[in-house]
Amino acid sequence: MADTADIKETGLIVDQAADTGIRAKLIYLGRLLWRDKTGLVGLSMFLIVVISAVFAPVLAPYDPLKQDLRAAKQPPAWSEKGDLSHPLGTDNLGRDILSRIIYGSRVSLTVGFFGVLIACSLGLLIGLIAGYLGGRVDNVIMGLVNLILALPYLVFVVFIAAILGQGLIIVILIFGFTDIPIFVRITRGEVLRIRESGFVEAALSIGSTRKRIIFNHILPNLIGPLITIATFEMSAMIFYEAGLGFLGLSVPPSVPSWGNMLATGRKYLTIYPWIATFPGLAIVFTGLGMNLLGDWLRDVLDPRLRRMKK
């Protein structure tokens, strides 16, 4: 109960959420996750995939490359001819599907993570340059960005992949570089917004250095949108990698990747449908988790979004 004297000073109630400190912030984040359970679900799903990628050798019951022709084409454990030795069945060469899915998460996450890392860092750099320098440099950069964004993505990705051949690094580089324009756009947009708000002149006039303006003002505003978009782009890259794998343009066929598994599965679709079904489910699971996570991040990191209590 506030003191009468306090009330007389000011009628305003002090803001309770002004508490700072890392611990308080983490607790706040936890509370936000709990309130918006879809974010929690998304994060958990994502963590499951990460854990299977990191701990694959421990979690997978079999060596994903090991062929066992006697156990080939075995259906999942719950059907007639299946049993628990191969819970999700085996493929045409007798390789255990569950293990291959667990190992496949490594390819997907590696491609997604490093691809986004490249695209984001380079995109950030180029976007800052374009937004800050403006003029001709900006025009050239934006011209290139618009050019790349105008192209039919799938056609060109397939084209490049076909030319450069198979390989994990190649795939990472392809996705990393073709996604740069998106991050350039976001960064540049933010820089322009701040420039146009007259804020920069004001900051310069009180003696801030350009570097300080970038680090203290522009970058913090960018973290939110960049993280959110990065999450969605990572999910997209995982999809596209699977697509390339489906055409045999991703990692070599021996390496277990969800896309490769789908390609194999397609050949036997009508007789052994499980070979294709489970890798697809893995992709859907990962995509779903990341999308939910991305949605939650977007809500949390956008200060303007406030929901009404019922």
């Binding site: 799938l154 060109f156 084209f159 030319i163 999910s235 449908p273 992709i283 999308n291």
Partner: protein, 315 residues
């Protein structure tokens, strides 16, 4: 308005020029385009002969000039495999892809817009949950996987649709679609459906709070009227952009679906060409797909300008 159209046209031409440049130099990426196209067993003499035949030992500038010159008249060289002009092959396959993409778009529109509208106008209701689920599904399920599942369920198990191939209904010399297009179109249109639901929903939610909607209520108009005449009408303008972009995506992104369903379109041609290392054809397809997308974007922007009176009668 005219200035707007003109500047967009110039932009489009510049982009197409850029595309030509990219498409041409993609082949040169590895340094020796011929090596891409020949089989491993080819002898050095065969390789050299092919190089001369295709003109790859000329200076780059000349090759490029030739390329552009050819492009302007629609000549993209010959497909190695089919021994026919690349463009001719592409145009032959075009109708199948157009049929597929158009059907996919129609399905997406018929499901997406009404669902988005119902969802936006009744937040928290069953429709809302359904719509948000649909939006999520569209984003998270890869269309090629859905295609496989649909085949297993509807073709193999239920037998309602053919497992592959395109069948048409010949009427007065026209090729009309039959039910063979349904499964491919559904798979292809999945992402677009999700996008349309999400977009319509968020547009409705946003527009609902606009001042002019409040004015409409203050005039005592009925809810239906307000939703259709005010909210939907305003939402349909940016919807034009989304639909245009999605149509371009559908036309150019059908490679997986066409491959899975053996649908004789351009996507299938692309997959084939890659498999055969027929890169002249791949080049031609890449350019053609870009042409389609760029043209579509241009038409969409023009349509947008015409539809929005602020641009059409702008000062």
């Amino acid at each position: 308005m005219q200035r707007y159209i003109l500047s967009r046209m110039v932009q489009s031409l510049l982009i197409l020029l850029g595309v030509l440049f990219i498409v041409f130099f993609m082949l040169q990426l590895t340094g020796d385009p011929v090596s891409l196209m020949v089989s491993r067993n080819a002898s050095p003499e065969q390789v050299e002969r092919l190089r001369e035949e295709m003109g790859f030992n000329r200076p780059l500038i000349i090759q490029f000039g030739d390329f552009i010159g050819g492009a302007l008249v629609g000549d993209f060289g010959m497909s190695l495999r089919h021994r026919q002009p690349a463009m001719k092959l592409i145009l032959e396959r075009l109708p199948a892809t157009v049929e597929l993409a158009t059907t996919a778009l129609l399905i997406a529109l018929c499901i997406g817009i009404p669902l988005g509208l119902l969802s936006g106008s009744n937040p928290g209701s069953f429709w809302d949950t359904l719509a948000r689920g649909a939006g999520l599904v569209g984003q998270t399920i890869p269309n090629f996987w859905l295609a496989l599942i649909l085949i297993v369920v509807f073709s193999v198990e239920l037998g309602w649709f053919p497992t592959f191939g395109r069948r048409t209904w010949e009427v007065f010399g026209m090729e009309l679609p039959t039910k063979s297009v349904i499964l491919p179109a559904f798979s292809l249109g999945l992402f677009t459906t999700g996008q349309l639901v999400r977009f319509t929903r968020s547009a409705v939610l946003e527009i609902k709070n606009e001042d002019y909607v409040r004015t409409a209520y203050s005039k005592g108009l009925k809810d239906n009227q307000i939703y259709l005449r005010h909210i939907l009408r305003n939402a349909s303008i940016p919807l034009i952009s989304i639909v245009g972009v999605q149509f371009g995506y559908l036309l150019s992104g059908s490679i997986y679906i066409e491959t899975i369903f053996s649908w004789p379109g351009i996507g299938n041609l692309l997959a084939e060409a890659i498999g055969n290392r027929d890169f002249a054809l791949v080049q031609a397809i890449a350019f053609f797909a870009s042409l389609v997308v760029v043209t579509l974007n241009l038409l969409t922007d023009i349509a947008y300008g015409l539809a929005d009176p602020r641009i059409r009668y702008g000062d």
